[in-house]
């Protein structure tokens, strides 16, 4: 093994891979889908919390600070029914239906204030916290006293599905698998198949470069691409959160597993058509855990039957539920075990490839 030669080969592969349509397509596709999902479901362009208010008095004493608030989008509605409808379809994350005489009651320290707040079922915790904070401040500013001294009764009512997972959160597992697994798998396999097709593999191994150098360079480039793609997808989906070091560890193991699998597939495939045929056949097994996650009612144990579950689950646990190492240790152990098994298989494949090279030349 020679590090300098491996670096040279990686540079060559990166350059040639950039002109490989399929490799580029596989890398760009998850990013485009992520951006589209963010655009359609509003997570990217509409991060601002959305507040709807129905105020029958039309008094601006309470609503003006909210309408002028730079960090929230506030819309006034003509009726309680219109407000409920807006919350139901998700146009507003929180809807305040104020009673008649609300502004006057605010100024009267002794008056009981009673109003209804509609919460959209899929509203994110972050936005709800921001909205609640803005509301408390508006009330305090309106009456000149602290909110906790007010005799306020809030009738909270949830509208929409109880599940608080947004569509972008539900699709994130699938996107992560596409980015990390396909990104890591496709590039080394396509590159190796190109070498076989053009007989450059035997040309390389007739220099001081060993077959191990060639395979390592391709595995490494798949590993790096996989890591970059996984990180990008997490960032685009605002999921690069929690213990970043743990996320990077899982992405690294996932990248290793994917690129090792890719190079093994590239070795055993006769040509690109065979490889694509295999991917079509086993693709569903790779994607399955991501597809199952779209439907929360599907039992979790089914996902555990697929290897990519052990990449996807710890990433979600860390980024969405704030899990630590202890909670995901088992998943990491399984992922590491799969990666080691693939590396052992790769070692055996390299030996066979040497023999095949001689026969095919």
């Amino acid at each position: 093994m020679n590090i300098q030669r491996i670096a040279v080969l990686m540079g060559k592969d990166a350059r040639l891979g950039a002109t490989n349509f399929m490799a580029v397509y596989v890398l760009v596709m998850p990013v485009i889908i992520s951006l589209l999902i963010a655009l359609v479901f509003g997570d990217l362009l509409a991060q601002t919390p959305r507040l709807g208010i129905y105020d029958p008095d039309g008094s601006e004493k309470f609503t003006r600070p909210l309408l002028d608030h730079p960090s929230i989008n506030t819309t006034l509605y003509d009726s309680d029914a219109a407000l409920q409808s807006a919350v139901e379809r998700g146009s507003e994350e929180l809807g305040l239906s104020l009673p008649a005489g609300f502004a006057a009651a605010l100024e009267d320290d002794s008056a009981e204030i009673d109003f209804t707040a509609y919460r959209w079922g899929e509203a994110g915790v972050r936005n709800l916290l921001l909205l609640e904070s803005a509301l408390a401040r508006a009330m305090t500013e309106g009456i000149g006293t602290s909110i906790d001294q007010l005799p306020v009764t809030v009738n909270a009512e949830q509208i929409g599905a109880a599940n608080t997972q947004t569509w972008s959160q539900r699709l994130l597992p699938l996107l992560l698998i596409m980015a990390i697994v396909l990104g890591g798998l496709f590039f080394p396999a396509a590159s190796l198949l190109d070498e076989k097709k053009n007989r450059t593999l035997v040309a390389l191994t007739s220099t001081p470069t060993s077959l191990l150098d060639v395979y390592l360079s391709k595995t490494l480039i798949g590993f790096i691409l996989s890591g970059i793609m996984g990180t990008i997808i997490l960032l685009i989906n605002s999921a690069f959160a929690g213990q970043v070091a743990l996320l990077l560890l899982v992405i690294a193991l996932g990248g290793l597993m994917s690129s090792a699998f890719g190079i093994v597939l590239g070795s055993v495939s006769k040509d690109m058509d065979t490889f694509l045929g295999i991917i079509k056949a086993v693709g569903i097994l790779l994607y399955a855990p991501g597809i199952l996650k779209i439907f929360p009612q599907v039992p979790e144990w089914i996902g555990r039957l697929f290897p990519t579950y052990y990449l996807m689950n710890p990433l979600l646990e860390v980024s969405q539920n704030g899990a630590g190492f202890a909670e995901i240790a088992l998943d990491i152990a399984v992922l590491a075990l799969i990666s080691v098994a693939l590396l052992v298989l790769l070692n055996s494949v390299i030996g066979r490839q040497q023999q095949k090279l001689a026969l095919e030349t």
Partner: protein, 286 residues
Amino acid sequence: MLSVESLAYTYPEGTEAVRGVDFAIEQGEIFGFLGPSGAGKSTTQKVLIRLLRGFQGQITVLGKPLNEWDDSYYEQVGVAFELPNHYQKLTARENLSLFRTLYSGDTRDPAELLEMVGLAEDANTRLSQFSKGMQMRLNFVRALIHQPDLLFLDEPTTGLDPVNGQKIKEILRQQKEEGRTIFLTTHDMTVADQICDRVAFIVDGKITLIDSPRNLRLQHGQRRVRVEYHKDETSSPAQHAEFPLDGLADSDQFLNILRTNRIETIHTQEATLEDIFIQTTGRSLT
């Protein structure tokens, strides 16, 4: 430089491709390995370039048993394959530059090598736009980039026009003059005859004959002269006659033909390498 003793190789499926081959090559020698398809010459070359492992027999290259060499073997050995194998999306210069970086020793300037085989003007052209002949020329010079002591060349003139074929032969002679040893696998007897110091005929995995082309011609050729002539100035059909080379000056019949007829051709009846091959092996080269 290279010695092979009792080399045998059997493919995993059981085909005995090489069966007890012995030969040795001296430094600075061009050694031609000739034989028809399936004779075992490619297998022998694959063993010698360490592409095929698990052979039987003893092979010593550059003073060391072949089994003891690691990948540093290729720092001193250059290999050119029968079929072009380049990165089609890279230019000729980029291909050579890439391979240049894989060697740790001194290497030659790609521009100089491209100039050598008449590809200087196409240095920045992608290989996908090269003809087979151009790719073959690049194949050939790529094997020279690290100035190896020993060259293994498989059909280096295949697919080349006569001018470029001649150019390659001149470069090979020049490499020999610089002290390099060349192991040439070919079925082109003319090329072998023109540039090889010695040739080996291999048939059915065994070497049947090893000698210099000149010696082979002398041993196997007929010492006769063939004359083609016309009896008069008209366009009558050409006549021919053959005479022993020994005592030719005393042959009245031969001298009479020369004096009284219009001579078209006179040739000694030397055997070609192909004739000798067929004569000694009973097989043709195709």
